[in-house]
């Protein structure tokens, strides 16, 4: 499903060039849930970004859902992101001007789903995340946990093959974080999505099928 092959990435800070990822390779099976563990600044976000094509590695190759991301044009990359992937951000990052149901339906609209399908899919997801009552609420009125649940529903609404989650529980307490990760796990299992999430919370690692650790830019399994 996701094949990362010898990727390296460095950033320039002033005159210095810091190597964030050093020759990293790993493989994620279809339907697998993989946790990416590492301290703050270890390169987890950069690795996730490289895996979904938001960032290009300096060297190496990423093949996601059978597509070599290096070969994609800007338009093709947008199409890939729109159809094949979902992304959950640390703070949820809902679109502030859209209601809960509009946020969830956004990827479905972008993928040209029919209005009836969108309506039933949004209702289904609202029921799963337990937020039917808040479907007309704007993100500003939601708690951190609720925001993350909506964000998960939005990321999985179009049933992507891959779900990337960048420290989705970092801004939550452990209990709420666990409930959000359970939601990610249950929903992705339900629709057979592959998940790669990053975290530095050891308590959440047990929810993954496999844990990869990033240390000094190198990967340890």
């Amino acid at each position: 499903m996701l094949h990362v092959n010898n990727i390296s990435k460095a950033f320039a800070t002033g005159r210095r060039r810091i190597k964030v990822l050093k020759d990293i390779s790993f493989y994620v099976e279809k339907g697998e849930i993989v946790a990416l563990k590492g301290k703050s600044g270890s390169g987890k976000t950069t690795l996730l970004n490289c895996c979904c094509g938001l960032e290009s590695p300096d060297s190496g190759k990423v093949i996601c859902s059978g597509i070599d991301l290096k070969t994609l044009s800007a338009g093709q990359l947008s199409r890939f992101l729109r159809t094949k992937t979902g992304f959950v951000f640390q703070q949820g990052n809902l679109l502030s001007y859209l209601t809960v149901s509009e946020n969830i339906s956004f990827p479905l609209h972008l993928n040209g789903e029919k209005a009836n399908n969108i309506k039933s899919r949004v209702s289904e997801l609202l029921a799963i995340i337990g937020m039917e009552e808040a479907k007309h609420a704007l993100p500003s009125g939601l708690s951190g946990g609720e925001t993350l649940r909506v964000s998960v529903a939005r990321a999985l609404s179009h049933k992507p093959e891959m779900l990337f989650a960048d420290e989705p529980t970092a801004s939550l307490d452990t209990a709420t974080g666990k409930s959000v990760l359970s939601l990610i796990r249950d929903l992705s299992r339900m629709q057979k999505s592959t998940v790669v999430f990053s975290t530095h919370d050891p308590e959440l690692l047990s929810m993954a099928d496999r844990v990869l650790e990033l240390k000094d830019g190198e990967l340890k399994e």
Binding site: R82, H109, L138
Partner: protein, 389 residues
Amino acid sequence: MVTNLIFILKTAIKFLARSWRATFVLAFMIFISVATLIFLSALATGTNDAMIRNSVGLYSGNIQRMNLPDSLRPEALEIKGVKHVLVRKACPGILKKDDHIETILLTGIDSEKEKKATGLYKKTIKGKYLSGKEKEIYIGQILAKKLDLDIDSRLYFQKGLESVPVEFTVSGIFKTGIGGFDDEIAFCNLKDLPEEVLVWNAAIFLEEGKKPQAIIAEYEKITNSRGEFLAWYDLMPDLKQLTDLNQVCMDILTVIVFAIVAVGVACAFVIFILKNLREYGILKTMGLSPGLMAFFIMAKVTILNLFAALSGVVAGALLCWWLSGSGIDISQMTSHNKYFVISGIIYPRLTAGSLLAPPILAFVLSSAAALWPMMIVLRSNVAKILRNR
């Protein structure tokens, strides 16, 4: 594709409606500029109208024709679009009082009709306008001073030194502030002209908004002549130049104001978009293509501009409509201005140009101003945007 565009358009509307504070601040700048410029443009048109109305309405009329034969009746010139046709007969000669002598042009007029069409009677500073009594004369202030005349003074008019002097009584003294008028012309009733004058001059006053060219073309057909009927702008080229200059200044001002507004709007959009850059990053992550992203930004800007410009048009038009009834009295500033000799009141008037140019210019320039922030969004790296949290 069309479904996507409609969806993005709806999202843009939701964005503007739900971020109403930011929308209001951005729209306000365009709204105020459009409303102000529509009003200023209408005011410029109103000022031009007032100068023309004053200059034409004092005496000369919109169209003049000299030396028409007596065989041509004034009624023949009363065609559609014409309000008044005034008959005037001029007789050059000298005015005498005691030892004082002045050369003048004595003009015979129909005082009743003149009063209805011209504003000269309003400039009476002493006595009264011609009333139709026998042997009255209405003279300018400078002439009265030169001849040492006052109301009811008696004086004599002679066509030449050999002619028989005809006695007149001063009915009134006027002051227009225009040299040629106050000094060189005197008026009497048509029937009191000392000698029969076989040709007449026509002063033609048109209905509001009528253009002289069309009427002149008709007259040339009626009189089988060419180039002898003169419009006000041929008679007063200085006034024509002044109104043209006024219009050009207004056009330049409009462009300058909107160039400044466009820069302001561009800066505001950049700040606005940079503030929300993370949301654009999220949209990119969700797979919004560069084309749809550009459409999303342009849709927001276009809707905002359209809304602001149309609101500005309504506000500007309402302001003009409100002031067009009472007018704006600037008499204090025009008391020595020959183009405001009858009235110093300006009535703002909307024209198609003054109503359409500001919103079109605002719309085009403000939309162009959105290209810069749009490029910022399109060229920014998603990973970088998302990393800077």
